[in-house]
Symmetry: C2
Subunit: 342 residues, 2 copies
DNA sequence: GCTTTGTTGGAAACCGGTGTCAATCCTGCC
DNA sequence: GGCAGGATTGACACCGGTTTCCAACAAAGC
């Protein structure tokens, strides 16, 4: 091609270079870039050839200024769990790779009194294309309202219905937990302990409901002292288990893996063998699940897929309604569960 | 103030609003924003009052276009370890909070043949203010060259000197490992196994050198079959330990926590008790270290502090040379180490 | 032949800041 | 009082796209 000859000596090519070389106007190039429908196919191809030849990429800063909108996807999270955050990041990246989008992350503090103003300022400033909110702060309707008011497209991730279809990516935690507990019951367990997540978290409530569903379905009464509560941390799981074990359950379901690891510690401290003396089930399937001993039977939360789906919803808002948004959490059987002893 | 009255009806205030209301030119407002020194103090105060009154914030997109530089800090990583990546993100965020900067993350694949072009495209596109590269890809001089060529300020994080002071945030892994191994020796261990990290990683080499330093200082020969190699994964640590344990060491140092967890699994499978039959030491102090049983004695890698330091270097390039860049990794004593049996 | 429809171009304004360079205002100094 | 010279300030082009408005021109329909 002769383009290389005509191309300006230095620097990145601009829209003017493309227009001059392909012999059309700046405006037409802009139409090609923005996929305007009122455009002759032959012209489009000609311009696209020049663009490819020159390696032209529109300047994102200029577009952002003119369009009043940045090609950035935001990720707002409260770092509940490193594995989860990185999993979502990975899913988003897979989706936006080879697009013009980039990922901006914004950790926030759920307990900060200025949380909402912080987020509003962030959205106002960055003029993001869209923003994704991770649990547990995705459960805040006030935060969702801020996104709406800022005119920013958003998606909330969660384990229960939080919003309309267009703004939601969810997983069926309740059913998944019920299934996992039914599996324990099928192995002969009757005294099953449960470590709930923190108050006020929808994910915690959903998981507990799943547990109660399964017990009720099987017609088993929940024994006194076999339900405890933690706040999704290792230490809280450990503390809850110390109390729960007094009630002599044969199995304990913890609402996340980290607490399950805490339960395991508590059992060890009492000289119990897992899974022989106690079966343990977790939720999330983070790295820790496979790396503790015995490897933890747990429910895999399909976080990477959810990240991908959320990114697609943000990038293509027009199809967001139709995009499936419900993901199945599935039971991963490892070695921390055994049949109940007679 | 009467400013509220004069302010345009809708939307965010612009630099023109500020200029009009404070009775100066647009350019003077720009000088105030950019802290230009050639500016009358009285004028500055007047304009600043109007800015505060209006709640004016300069539009980042417009500034990015005019300055040909975005107020974004990039983080390039190869996801070796979720805890580490999030730790750095946390450190960066702490530093840029309350500034105009935002954080863009860019996961990459070390093994991709297009890695360098990917990164170059990313830098060219986003025109970042600065970029931070995490290990292990921070060890790539080719990648650093790409940053330089793109005219992008960069900082490389690592466990050994990789670059000049301005571009480096490092930790003293070699000395820290030597110290940890000396601790084992002080407890009477003589047959000490070592699981090295993957070939070609500077961090792996540094840690191994630290091990050999300590053994040599103590005048202990490294017994045959007590040094293995892994690739920083759980599975590789497990496999390496299976071979190492044939040589009957009384302690094993693994070059990271994940491999240490693998070593622990291997020991369990042989019916060994930790730490009674085998002491285990790790490196990094990720969440897994505290959550396995027994809690892992390990070397804490000060990742959050390093992230903070790196962000400061990027935001204030002029003082980057003077900013201290060497961080101390320190031994965290938990329960996976015991004195050697007689 | 005339109108309609579809496609493209041109000029100019705009998005909201920053750079250049000249104009203006104070000083002190002779 | 007049002037050199530094300290301040403003006019205007520019960053690289998009948008508006309208004109031009071809092919198609009546």
């Amino acid at each position: 091609m002769m383009a290389a000859i005509e191309k300006a000596a230095e620097g990145k090519p601009t829209i003017n270079d493309v227009a001059r070389i392909s012999g059309v106007s700046k405006k037409t190039v802009s139409r090609v870039i923005n996929r305007s429908p009122l455009l002759n196919e032959a012209t489009r191809e000609k311009v696209e050839a020049v663009i490819a030849d020159l390696g032209y990429v529109p300047n994102p800063q200029a577009r952002a200024l003119a369009l009043r909108r940045n090609f950035l996807i935001g990720l707002i999270h409260d770092n509940p769990n490193a594995q989860m955050v990185l999993g979502v990041q990975e899913g988003i990246l897979e989706t936006i790779r080879d697009t013009e989008f980039a990922l901006v992350v914004r950790p926030v503090d759920r307990h900060s009194p200025t949380l909402l103003e912080d987020v509003r300022g962030f959205l106002d400033q960055q003029r993001l294309y869209g923003v994704m909110v991770l649990p547990p702060i995705s459960e805040s309707d006030a935060l969702a309202a801020v996104c709406r008011e800022a005119g920013c497209n958003y998606v909330r991730m969660g384990s229960a219905r939080l919003d309309t279809e267009a703004h939601l990516v969810e997983s069926n935690d309740r059913a998944a937990v019920a299934e996992a507990v039914a599996y324990l019951i099928g192995l002969g367990h009757r005294r099953i302990g449960f470590v709930a997540g923190p108050e006020g978290f929808r994910s915690a409530r959903e998981r507990e409901l799943g547990f109660r569903d399964a017990m009720e379905t099987a017609g088993i009464d929940i024994a006194p002292g076999t339900v405890g509560q933690g706040n999704y941390t290792f230490a809280s799981g450990h503390a809850a288990a110390q109390r729960l074990l007094e009630a002599r359950p044969t199995a304990i379901f913890a609402s996340n893996d980290e607490m399950a690891a805490g339960v395991l510690h508590a059992a060890r401290e009492r000289g119990m063998e897992v899974p022989h003396d106690l079966s343990i089930l977790g939720f999330d399937d983070t790295a820790i699940a496979a790396h503790i001993w015995p490897p933890l039977t747990t429910v895999r939360w399909p976080i990477v897929s959810m990240g991908r789906a959320a990114a697609r919803k943000l990038i293509h808002p027009e199809t967001a309604e139709r995009e499936p948004a419900l993901f199945r959490s599935e039971l991963i059987r490892r070695a921390s569960v055994a049949p109940a002893r007679e």
